[in-house]
């Protein structure tokens, strides 16, 4: 009756080859080419993508400011960031003579100069919805205007990328709820705190192992919860075997003590521990700045500070590992080109996307600038979209993640990537 499975068995089941490897219907091009969960240091390893979702609709016009566009200043009498004036930290930081960074993004300027950072402006999801929840859902499922496909774009990528990777850390969503981008047949781990992710919590009596066995066995019989429990224990097992002790960032990198900063720090920890991470999602919310948005100080600049300090810490911490790690950040929509009566901005359309890593053609702003003149704006006064967000993501999926099955990751999408954002390697 009390046949215990050993802890070894956990690990074995966690790392077993997934069934698709033997599935003859999977075309050769999608068959595994990378050993992800191999002994430390063994090459080649699959590249990694970190997807950051800036929830609430980030005001891209005040992130990468079009200081060369006079309409920007006309439309935003109180919120606009002043034209770059070198040496002054209350103005934009010039990037290319036309665009500039919000001064709160100063920590990213080195990375831009290092060609490790790129922006795609006037990008976004072509569906015209101004609803946060529909827009986020469309973007995370990668299917604008289409509600029938229940899986997320990252989940579909993992499903067809077919790397030889049974690790429970293959896909990790930081936070208490998994984002819809990770919904799909490949299980993803929801993780908040590596330090808290073990059975027992505050209670660490000798019985914890016995409870773990019993819980595992009870859940094994549950058709809905069983596989989740199994998966959760597998992750605990891997963490116990490879991640230990306090994590110290390299190269003097300092992560902010924010939820976002600490999440990125844990992503770096997982990457260095080589636990088989392929994709991770991290959220930063609070961008719905209808009132009191703040120009140089206030709500949005505080978020930009968190964003830039955290990203910079991550980049410097990982050092040359950033050659196989690409960060991409997006938000469900941009905000209205003109400010409203509450020193804020309402929901808009086109936005800026960010990408960071050492396999990018960085130091460049991609996309075509549609302008902010009355004729150029789209109803009811929003920045137009000239680059579909799927163009950006599909280029990263094909070139960085080496997954050619774009038609499965973004069903119905036909604008094949031509940006040149990712290096050909």
């Amino acid at each position: 009756m009390k046949n215990k499975f050993s802890r070894r068995d956990f690990l074995k089941s966690a790392l077993a080859l997934p069934a698709w490897i033997l599935d003859p219907r999977i075309p050769n091009q999608y068959r595994p080419r990378f050993t992800v969960l191999a002994p430390k240091g063994q090459e080649p390893r699959a590249n990694i993508m970190i997807c950051i979702f800036l929830r609430g609709g980030m005001d891209g016009l005040n992130v990468v400011i079009p200081h060369g566009d006079a309409d920007y200043y006309r439309l935003r009498p109180t919120l606009a960031i002043a034209e770059p004036d070198s040496g002054n930290d209350t103005t934009g930081i010039d990037l290319d003579g036309f665009f500039g960074l919000h001064p709160a993004l100063r920590p990213l300027k080195d990375i831009w100069d290092d060609k490790g950072l790129a922006f795609i402006h006037a990008a976004g999801s072509p569906d015209p919805t101004h609803s946060h929840f529909d827009a986020m859902d469309y973007m995370e499922r990668g299917t604008p205007g289409e509600k029938q496909i229940p899986t997320g774009w990252l989940a579909r990528h993992l499903q067809v990328a077919a790397n030889e990777n049974g690790s429970p850390f293959r896909a990790v969503g930081f936070g208490t709820l998994l984002p819809s981008s990770l919904r799909g047949p490949v299980p993803a781990l929801a993780l908040q705190s590596i330090a808290d992710f073990h059975l027992g919590g505050k209670y660490q009596g000798d019985e914890v192992d016995q409870f773990q066995n019993a819980i595992f066995e009870m859940y094994a019989a549950d058709p809905t919860l069983g596989s989740r429990a199994d998966f959760t224990f597998s992750a605990v097992q891997v963490l116990e075997s490879v991640v230990s002790g306090e994590y110290t960032a390299s190269h003097g990198a300092q992560y902010p003590e924010t939820e976002f900063g600490q999440s990125l720090k844990q992503v770096a920890q997982l990457i260095k521990a080589e636990v088989g991470l392929e994709v991770a999602t991290v959220d930063l919310g609070g961008w719905d700045t209808h009132v009191d948005q703040g120009s140089l100080k206030g709500n949005m600049p505080a978020l930009l500070t968190d964003l830039s300090k955290s990203l910079a810490a991550f980049y410097h911490d990982l050092g040359d590992t950033m050659k196989r790690v690409t960060v991409v950040a997006m938000s469900e929509f941009g905000r209205r080109a003109s400010e409203n009566g509450g020193q804020g901005t309402d929901h808009g359309h086109g936005n800026v996307m960010l990408s960071m890593g050492k396999s990018l053609n960085g130091g460049k702003i991609y996309g075509q600038w549609p302008g902010l003149s009355a004729e150029a704006l789209v109803s009811p006064g929003d920045l137009a979209i000239t680059t579909d967000f799927r163009s950006v993501l599909s280029e990263l999926v094909s070139k960085h993640l080496h997954n050619p099955a774009l038609e499965q990751v973004f069903p119905g999408f036909t604008e094949f990537p031509t940006l040149g954002l990712a290096k050909d390697i």
């Binding site: 929830r55 208490t176 073990h198 009870m218 919860l225 959760t232």
Partner: protein, 492 residues
């Protein structure tokens, strides 16, 4: 080999009474006087009642099960729908030490500890969920708090949400939807949270207008346009809140005639004549509350809460009709749902959200708790501390949204913490609850307490076996840990 455990029949069902009688013998040892025993269900109606009460309460107490058995399920629901008729004096001793619940906005603003109002509101909400006998009412308070979500840390909402809870949600939770909607539209906390307080004719802010239609009334796919959003925003310009810089009393609803857009408007095809002033908002409330899309939207959400993550369309449609026919009488809609065959057929199959998990564990074990930290911190780790959802759609109401590794791990750790009395804010008299030193009696008493029924033989034997294996803990504690952490206790 793993035990052949099977979730669907983890409980005993009718027809086992002879076995049960044998288990209990002629004179079962009396449990300690604080714990009222739950009788083993003797027929299928008894089984239905415990399953139904696990759905319409945060986890039924023996007193509640006994009451429902005595007067019948439908009468029990009727009684719960009129909460003032239910004696709730036992709750007072648990929340009397909280000082902020009756304070005015200016008193709250003057508090030295900035987070005290938010912290005490969370605590009061959890304590009411655990200790109030007006359970269906507290469930509905929770439902509307999600529906009309306000993030308690958004600027002045750290104190204004107290007033929204007290004057908007709680008085109307079982009342009329039109009145609830109107109260929410006038709620200073809501006007701050969704930024309408700053909306003027010269610069209308669209945030509240959009969510009022998308989340509070019509639903996202009901066919309103961006133009409707802008027109609603215009209709609500000047709806604001008195704040220190305005002088006078703080944190009250105010209509600023001079910043209201008095030009004519057209919303959802209906004309709003010029010069209506504050009456624009009243006409809007009528229009939205009586719209068929609102009935459908609210009916869907109620059916999802009480029946299934994917509620049967026929039931939703009937509930929407009941909503329309009764002009938004929340009790009428609830009765239609709770007295339906679909409700009966769905019992035991809905996953608890983290809040429901935590509260049911505290409630059904007779915990003595202040639901302070670390218990509340555990709920926060699971991601569902009341009023801490930043986005206006509130916490998700489906099991699949929550069903992940972070949540499961936190639930198991909560179970272990409770069973070992590790949380300093919470104590459970496990031995008193078990009422016996004999493992066979303990397991049955605990099962009745947590599930209102005995466990199926294989599950019962399995847990007895595991508990006897854990030699360092007394069986009442180890069995409690196993039952609370089990998959069985994740459903309601």
């Amino acid at each position: 080999m793993n035990q052949p455990l099977s979730r669907r029949d983890f409980l005993k069902f009718a027809g086992f009474t002879s076995v049960a009688a044998a288990l209990w013998g002629c004179a079962p040892q009396s449990p300690s006087p604080t714990f009222i025993p739950i009788e083993i269900p003797s027929n299928s109606e008894d089984e239905f009642i415990v399953a139904a009460l696990r759905r319409i309460t945060f986890g039924p107490l023996p007193e509640e099960i006994n009451r429902a058995r005595q007067i019948g399920f439908n009468n029990f629901v009727e009684e719960q729908l009129w909460p003032q008729t239910i004696d709730d004096s036992a709750l007072a001793q648990h929340i009397d030490h909280l000082t902020v619940l009756d304070m005015s906005a200016s008193e709250l603003l003057d508090l030295e500890k900035r987070l005290q109002p938010a912290t005490e509101l969370v605590q009061a909400t959890l304590l009411r969920a655990v200790y109030s006998r007006r359970q269906l009412y507290e469930i509905m308070v929770n439902f509307w708090s999600d529906h009309f979500n306000i993030y308690v840390l958004k600027t002045k909402d750290r104190f204004l949400k107290i007033i929204d809870d007290r004057e908007v949600i709680r008085p109307n939770a079982l009342g009329n939807f039109r009145e609830l909607l109107s109260a929410s539209m006038h709620s200073p906390a809501m006007l701050i949270y969704l930024d309408n307080a700053s909306s003027t004719k010269d610069g209308p802010v669209e945030n509240y207008a959009r969510e009022l239609m998308e989340l509070h009334t019509l639903g996202v796919s009901s066919g309103y346009s961006q133009t409707d959003v802008i027109e609603v925003a215009r209709a609500l310009t000047g709806w604001s809140v008195t704040l220190p810089r305005n002088g006078g009393e703080i944190g009250k609803f105010i209509f600023h005639e001079q910043t209201h857009d008095n030009n004519p408007k057209r919303i959802l095809g209906v004309d709003f004549p010029a010069g209506q002033g504050i009456k624009d908002g009243e006409q809007l409330a009528d229009l939205l509350a009586s719209h068929p899309a609102t009935a459908e939207h609210v009916a869907y959400k109620l059916a999802r809460r009480f029946v299934s993550d994917s509620p049967p369309p026929a039931l939703v449609s009937q509930a929407a009709s009941a909503f329309q026919a009764s002009h938004g009488d929340i009790r009428a809609v609830l009765k239609l749902i709770l007295f339906s065959d679909e409700f009966r057929a769905s019992l035991g199959m809905k996953l608890k959200r983290p809040l429901e998990y935590v509260v049911s564990a505290l409630r059904q074990t007779g915990a003595n708790t202040t639901v302070n930290n670390p218990s509340a911190k555990m709920l926060r780790q699971m991601g569902q501390l009341p009023f801490y959802c930043p986005s206006p759609n509130g916490y998700p109401d489906t099991g699949t949204a929550w069903l992940n590794s972070n949540d499961l791990m936190a639930r198991w750790n909560f179970a272990l913490g409770l069973a070992t009395n590790t949380f300093s804010d919470t104590q459970i008299d496990w031995e008193g609850l078990a009422g016996s030193a004999e493992p066979e009696k303990i397991i049955d008493t605990l099962s009745l307490r947590l599930f209102g029924n005995l466990l199926a033989d294989d599950v019962r034997q399995y847990i007895l076996g595991q508990a006897s294996d854990i030699k360092t803990m007394r069986p009442a504690f180890s069995m409690a840990a196993l039952l609370l952490a089990s998959p069985y206790f994740q459903y309601r």
